[in-house]
Structures are given as structure tokens and as C-alpha cells.
Symmetry: C2
Subunit: 287 residues, 2 copies
């Protein structure tokens, strides 16, 4: 297991962590100030400053990307299937332009939440079928672009509205069906927040292996959690044994960034420099 | 699958659903007014009126029980192991006195939340080991009392503070290890709220079979969920396909009550009769 205690060269910042404090260009400046080497930007943050400016800013700052957030939301009613396909192809193009190593996929929940306006359904089995079909189509496109796709299993609390792929096993089962050759073009993005509770976690990380482990995200689970979406904790403030999870992915050969992704009304209310200083300190001590 | 549309003879009321509107005796009176045949009372509600009075009130009203809530909270530090054992034995005794068909078990999360005052830990694997050990001890006691134990897998959102048995598979694996002979003394209580998201749900219900299916609970998952503990929905107001879940347990031979258990700041704020009328109507139409 790599020693993170003396520097933060393997810290990547998911830019949603400070999305309320500034635009993407300001976040990139702050990363430069704090010696942060990598980011994972969100599509809306890129769009807000323009793709070309974002590409230049990343290049000028000498930043790497640890991923691009996010593709997916594959579930919809029939009238929106074209929108789903086109939207995800654009996402691949943007990720390519930015030099991202993978697109992180939040696959979608029930169609009425995934693609608002879609006819309402309670059929989660059908939703899962639709996800696999749309993902297969996106994978064809991503392969041509040589841009790997990383399925992010989301905590079951988000099964209805964000992603009904909710365990590492379920994500890896999809990988095995759509990419049995383990081409390196399809894998998982594992965020400790979503998977820490899973009794099969360690077995599934071992099953994933290096070629399926495309991204590793960290934050913490707070008790109590006051907001189901926007009350993630800073690493060390909650109950997750983060080092054990990192040890497990590194035992498989994962040698990429530990990406910090915190959606938090609390941390969004603090100055950007304070947030980044805390991220760096916790990266050294808790991650 | 049984037809519930014309009456509510298979509706049981988990008394937490109206815990803020009255004490257990008042709830029992209200069940009589509404022709509800069964309840699942909570230990604190029984204690508040006294066990003997509760036993008499249940008997005088001709009520059945569909379970007794709840045993468990098995995780603690060493200094509280005796408390855990004694507390759970008392729970079995009370259930026996009340004529409950099973004790519902919420097994506990990390020790500091399960038994407050216990030393803090992030070791969920250790917590799970401790649960199995304490459950084995309780099972010996419950067998002598001929009182079955029903492990309730809780939604992963409660893994830290309430139960780190979070899937039906995990609960059934414990059943198989502690009761390989399928004696009928150990099984599961399945609440759609906790398990609806699980991609393995239907397979695991089939695996459980009739002798492991000791209780079936219903409510609904709301989007958005505004409170992680106390914002369960009335059946029909959320996204859960309840009928499919009931069809699956009944296909295994389950023929017991559909127990309504709603923790909801919203419904706790309404008159008891309104809540019960709504439960009965939704039982006929949505469950």
C-alpha cells in the first residue's frame, strides 16, 4: 500500500467538492495554489466556462484528470432514447478533449427521475435491462474513441432516482457480460461512500482486478446523515474504514489517484482554500 | 397470490406507525374500531403500559400478533455483552407472554451506535462477527422458549447505526450457518423498504422458502426522501412495486400478515383514525 503521509501527489479533486465556491477556472487556480495534481470535473462545470477554455485551463495548469463526471442516466421512456444516446456520445467526446482516463457513469434509476418528463415506472428490473442496452451502445462509441467507461455502483439509497446499479458485484456482472474479454474499456469507479457497507466488498474488489478498477473515490459516511444527497463527510469525520478499502484496491494493482468527492452543504459553505487544505491534511492522515 | 381487494383480514399494524398518536392501549382500541386483526408492538410501547396490561389488552381485543419489535442490537464493547444477552432474553420472554409468532431482530451496527457508550469502532467486519456470536446465544434461549427469531435485513443506509446485516442474502447466509437444519426457529423478516432495491431480491426470496419467511412488512420509498429514518411513505406514494414482492413471498408459501410499518414525521402528525383508514384503503389497492 502506498504511503500517502508525506505528500499529496495521489490526491485528485472531484470538482463538485467546491462547486459552490467558484467556477472551474477558479477551482483549477486553487488546485495550482495547493499543489493538487489532478481533478475530475463535472460536465456542467465544463459547460459553464466552455469546453475549449476548460481544455486550455487544464493544459496550462499541467493538471491530469482522474475521470470525467458523468455519463449515464440511461433510463428513459421511448421518446427520449435518442437524447440519451446523443448526450452520452457528447460526454465521450468531451472527456477525450479534456484528456480524461475514463468517463464515470451514473447509470440512472427509474426513468422519470433519470430523464425527467419520461413516463413514470416502478419497474426496476426493466430499468436495469434498459441500462445494459444503452451502455452497450455507448461502449461501442467509447471503444472507437479509446475512452474507457467506469460504471459507478451507487449506494442503494439512490436506486430510485440516480442509479439502480447498487453493488460492486452488480456492476462487475455487467462488465463481464458486455466486455468478457476484459479489454480495459469497461470497468468500475468505486467510491467508498457507496460501497463501504457491502458484505461482499472485499471479495468483489479482488474479483475486479486491476483492469476493471478504473477509479477510486473517497469521502466519509456521517452518523447521522442529515441529507440523503448532500451530507457526505470529510474523510475521518465518519465511520468508513477508508484505508482498508484503499489497501484492497491497491492489492489488485490499482495505482491511480484517490479522488476526493464530497457533496456537502457544510463544506460548500466554507472558503475554497479551507476545504482544500483540509482535503490535503486528511488525505495524508486518513486516506 | 391472495386477493386483498375486498377486505383487510391480512393487514397487521406495526404499532410504531401511530406511536405519536397514542399509547398501546389506545392503538389497540383503534384497531378494534377499524377491524384490524393483528399488530406488531414495540417493546417500549409495551413497557410504557406494562407487560401485564399489554397482554390483557391484546387478549381482550382478540388480536393476533405478527411479530414483536424488536430484539437485537447485538454489537457492543466487552463491558456491555452481559447487557446485550440479558436484554435479548427478556425480549424473548415478553414476546412469549404476548403470544408473538416471532421476535424481529434489528441486529445492530457499529457498537457505539448499537449500544451507546460502547467504545467507537469502524470495523464493520468485526461487528458482523459479533452479531453472529450473540445471535447464536439468543437462538439457544429462543429455542427453549419455542419462539422463532426473524433477522430483518435493514437498508444499507442504516449499516452504521442500526443493522449491518443489509441484504436478504446476508441474512439467509447467517440462517444457514446457525440453523442448517432449517428448524423453523430462525428466519427473516422482509420489509420492502429495506430490500426493494436489491438486484438479487427475487432469487433470495426463492432461496428463503416458506420456513425462513417469518414476516413481511410494507410501506413505500419516497423520492425525495427528506429524512433518512422518519420519512417512509404510505404504500402507493412511492416507487416500490409492492405487489411483485408480495407475489414472490406468497409463491414460496408465505400466508401470513402484510404488516404495515411506517416511520413518518408526516403520518405521525395526522389523526390515528385517518392513518388507519388510509392503511386499510392502500392495503386493498396497492399491497
Amino acid at each position: 500500500m502506498r504511503d500517502f503521509s508525506s505528500d499529496h501527489s495521489w490526491l485528485s479533486l472531484n470538482t463538485a467538492t467546491v462547486r459552490k465556491q467558484g467556477d472551474l477556472l477558479q477551482i483549477i487556480d486553487a488546485c495550482a495554489r495547493h499543489g493538487i495534481r489532478a481533478i475530475d470535473p463535472w460536465r456542467d462545470q465544463v459547460a459553464a466556462v466552455g469546453l475549449d477554455r476548460a481544455v486550455r485551463a487544464v493544459r496550462d495548469a499541467g493538471l491530469e484528470l482522474s475521470g470525467y463526471c458523468r455519463g449515464g442516466m440511461f433510463t428513459s421512456d421511448a421518446s427520449r432514447r435518442g437524447e440519451v444516446r446523443d448526450d452520452n456520445r457528447r460526454c465521450v467526446d468531451e472527456a477525450k478533449a479534456l484528456g480524461a482516463p475514463c468517463v464515470v457513469l451514473v447509470v440512472g434509476g427509474l426513468p422519470q427521475y433519470s430523464r425527467p418528463g419520461s413516463e413514470a415506472s416502478k419497474d426496476i428490473v426493466a430499468a436495469r435491462g434498459q441500462i445494459e442496452e444503452a451502455l452497450a451502445d455507448m461502449l461501442d462509441y467509447a471503444k472507437q474513441a479509446e475512452l474507457p467507461l467506469a460504471i459507478e455502483p451507487l449506494h442503494p439509497a439512490y436506486a430510485a432516482d440516480r442509479a439502480c446499479v447498487n453493488t460492486t458485484k452488480q456492476a462487475l456482472d455487467i462488465c463481464d457480460r458486455l466486455d468478457p474479454a476484459r479489454s480495459g474499456m469497461l470497468g468500475v469507479a468505486l467510491d467508498v461512500y457507496h460501497i463501504w457497507w457491502d458484505p461482499e466488498l472485499m471479495d468483489q474488489i479482488a474479483r475486479a482486478g486491476k483492469d476493471r478498477l478504473l477509479a477510486f473515490h473517497v469521502c466519509d459516511w456521517l452518523v447521522p446523515t442529515r441529507d440523503i444527497l448532500n451530507d457526505r463527510g470529510m474523510m475521518g469525520d465518519g465511520v468508513i474504514d477508508i484505508k482498508s478499502a484503499r489497501a484492497a484496491v491497491e492489492a489488485q494493482g490499482f495505482a491511480g489517484y484517490s479522488e476526493i468527492e464530497i457533496f456537502s452543504n457544510d463544506w460548500w459553505g466554507r472558503p475554497m482554500d479551507e476545504v482544500l487544505r483540509t482535503c490535503i491534511e486528511r488525505h495524508k492522515t486518513v486516506v
